[in-house]
């Protein structure tokens, strides 16, 4: 192993410049404020207090977590059966399904989101269709529904692929063994397949929840300017207010929330494994 260690050096340099250094800068900005002409900056926790003590910002945070949670749950509900089906398909069909699922990600996310505007707006595709039957128009654009739809649409491939991979990696003889021991189809699924595919679900959750909770262009385009999520607050602090210190503090708070949620999901995963080995 040792002789390969040198091969990681380029990546270590990359991490240092592209990840560690920016993180340190964010930490620095978050804990400082612009000083007067004598002192260029001074250390403070003011930026954090400002976020936590303002109900408006806390509401925004709550809304972001709620939307991300709804998105993740919908992704699992739709994604799990789809992944299960694909995993059971023949080799050739599998590849075609994976291709179909990844196909939209070949197109830039912004472009696809703009397409949703055209589909959802009052004189858009859906409402024109409904109009033929004399229904509507129903306002769909600039609602929470549109935002969740946009997020599910954008992130669901990650969920399906993660679950699909863990299902295909599963040893089929385990299911056969369960069947031999008299388990019916349902029991087989709940006792064997589901627990073994949980790691895939967990990594799917991280790949969907994290981008959803910090997303800012989907809520801006599909939710309208009044649909503010944490990502939008951070964006406005950097681009319009020019308050990098406050923006960094919010980013750091988000990073901490994300780390906690990662830790919790990991915990759920490991306890599950230990329970399984115990029974």
């Amino acid at each position: 192993m040792k002789q390969f260690r040198k091969m990681t050096y380029p990546y270590v340099v990359w991490i240092a410049i592209m990840i560690v250094l920016p993180m340190l800068l964010i930490m620095f900005y978050a804990f400082t404020k612009q000083g007067n002409s004598v002192m260029q900056f001074s250390f403070t926790v003011e930026n954090f207090v400002r976020f936590v003590s303002d109900t408006v910002f806390l509401e925004v945070l709550g809304r972001s977590l709620r939307v991300a949670l709804i998105t993740t749950v919908i992704c699992i509900i739709i994604g799990y059966p789809a992944a299960y089906y694909i995993a059971k398909c023949s080799e050739g069909l599998k590849m075609k399904w994976v291709l179909i699922i990844t196909f939209p990600t070949w197109i830039n996310m912004l472009v696809r989101t703009y397409a949703w505007i055209g589909i959802l707006q009052d004189d858009g595709v859906i409402n024109s269709l409904l109009g033929v039957f004399g229904i509507g128009p129903i306002s769909m654009l600039h609602t929470e529904f549109a935002v969740v739809l946009g997020m599910v649409y954008n992130f669901i491939p990650f969920m399906i692929l993660q679950i699909y991979t863990s299902l295909t990696k599963m040893d089929n003889s385990l299911i056969e063994a369960a069947q031999d021991l008299g388990a019916n189809g349902f029991k087989c699924f709940t006792k064997v397949t589901l627990p073994l595919s949980l790691p895939g679900v967990i990594s799917g959750i991280t790949l969907v929840f994290l981008p959803a909770v910090s997303s800012f262009c989907i809520p801006k385009l599909l939710g309208g300017g009044q649909y503010v999520l944490v990502g939008n607050v951070i964006e406005s602090q950097f681009l319009t207010s020019g308050d990098w210190n406050f923006g960094s503090a919010i980013s750091l708070i988000m990073a901490i929330i994300i780390m906690i949620s990662l830790y919790v999901t990991k915990k759920i995963d490991t306890t599950d494994v230990s329970e399984r080995s115990a029974t």
């Binding site: 408006v56 509401e59 004189d123 009044q226 503010v228 607050v233 319009t240 207010s241």
Partner: protein, 370 residues
């Protein structure tokens, strides 16, 4: 077989790259081979100039025609916002003509970043309309020549909203609960706070804390009671489609909306609004100021102004063109948004970094308040 395919792919890629390179190479040499190049070089010292202008803000023919007539080459760059233009300029990029807004010109002037115009080289300045001459930021037009101008106002559906109501209520119509869920606000702190300031009878350049707070409360109240949607340029498409009854829009965009949808009209309350002006200036570090003067003079020609205003829809700075467009049989005779009505209380924005930051800090809270 596989190797053959790969070869073919590589050959194709090389061919595509080569043809792209050839194309760009060709267009470059095509322009420099202009006949008038020699004399232009003698006259201006150089045959190229750089123009920095907001996107979609100029007739497509303007620059090519100028290049042809004077045997020169104009390099065009576009910017999204005045702030972005300022950042590039501060980074040391050199341009010959810029087209920023009023408050940004004020800031550039404060920082000595502009050069004084030689008015003898711009005889067409005689055509300037009274409304845009000597605005606050440049009282005797020594540094700037207006390019387009207009106001901020309300586009409304005449079948749903009566003009009498608008006259009676002014900006407060945006808080009339009969139109709840039927309004678009413009997602910009400056324009939104301007509306609140004007409705409350303050100046839109105030930095009085109490007045700012009152305006903030006015906007929060609007956000809570009216379920507004905050949009920017998309408002054009949405209002042309007629999806809502009321929208805050720049007069030039309103011209386009009114042209496309007959139900829509434009209104500016007499409690006052923001009157704005984008103008051509020559930065201090311009490399080719002589050609820049020639360009500014060219843009002010009657026929060039006519083409430009017809292409973009914003009000021309040229008095003759304004009269022609709004006169009988003029292209914009029927369009009430084209020539903005102006009131005593209309104001131009001033450069105030502190106020801008304060407003943008409050703005995200206005939008997030539910």
């Amino acid at each position: 077989m596989k190797a053959l395919k790969r070869m073919a792919a590589i050959v194709m890629i090389v061919a595509i790259c080569a043809s792209c390179a050839a194309c760009s190479g060709n267009s470059g040499s095509g322009n420099s081979g202009n006949q008038g190049g020699q004399t232009a070089k003698e006259k201006y010292g150089s045959t190229t100039m750089k123009l920095f202008i907001p996107g979609e803000y100029m007739s497509d023919d303007l620059v090519p025609d100028f290049e042809k007539e004077f045997g020169v080459k104009v390099i065009i760059e576009y910017f999204d916002s005045n702030e972005m233009m300022y950042t590039k300029l501060a980074a040391g990029d050199s341009y010959d003509v810029l087209v920023p807004s009023d408050y940004m010109i004020e800031r550039l002037l404060k920082e000595n970043q502009l050069q004084k115009l030689d008015k003898s080289l711009i005889p067409n300045m005689a055509n300037l309309a009274e409304e845009v001459k000597g605005l606050d930021y440049d009282k005797s037009n020594e540094y700037s020549v207006p390019y387009f101008w207009g106001t901020v106002g309300i586009v409304y559906n005449q079948n749903k909203v009566s003009e009498d109501d608008l006259k009676a209520k002014g900006w407060d119509i945006m808080k009339d609960t009969r139109y709840k869920g039927r309004i678009y606000m413009y997602d910009s702190e400056r324009d939104s706070f301007m509306i609140a300031f004007k409705q409350l009878g303050y100046s839109c350049n105030t930095d009085n804390e109490d007045e700012i707070n009152a305006a903030y409360e006015w906007l929060v109240d609007l956000n809570k009671t009216m379920d507004p949607i905050y949009v920017t340029d998309e408002v054009l498409d949405y209002m042309i489609g007629g999806s809502k009854d009321l929208a805050i829009v720049y007069s030039g965009d309103a011209v386009t909306i009114l042209d496309e949808n007959e139900d829509m009209s434009y209104f500016t309350p007499d409690s006052g609004t923001n009157i704005w002006c984008d103008a051509m200036v020559i930065p201090a570090n311009a490399e080719n100021p002589k050609l820049a003067h020639e360009f500014i003079n060219y843009v002010l020609r009657d026929e060039v102004c006519t083409d430009n205003t017809l292409a973009v829809g914003y009000a021309s700075p040229n008095a003759n063109v304004l009269a022609e467009m709004t006169g009988e049989d003029g292209d914009y005779a029927e369009n009430v948004a084209y020539l903005p009505r102006t009131y005593e209380k209309d104001e131009i924005f001033h450069d105030n970094e502190k106020l801008r930051k304060k407003l943008s800090e409050l703005w995200i809270k206005v939008k997030a308040a539910n």
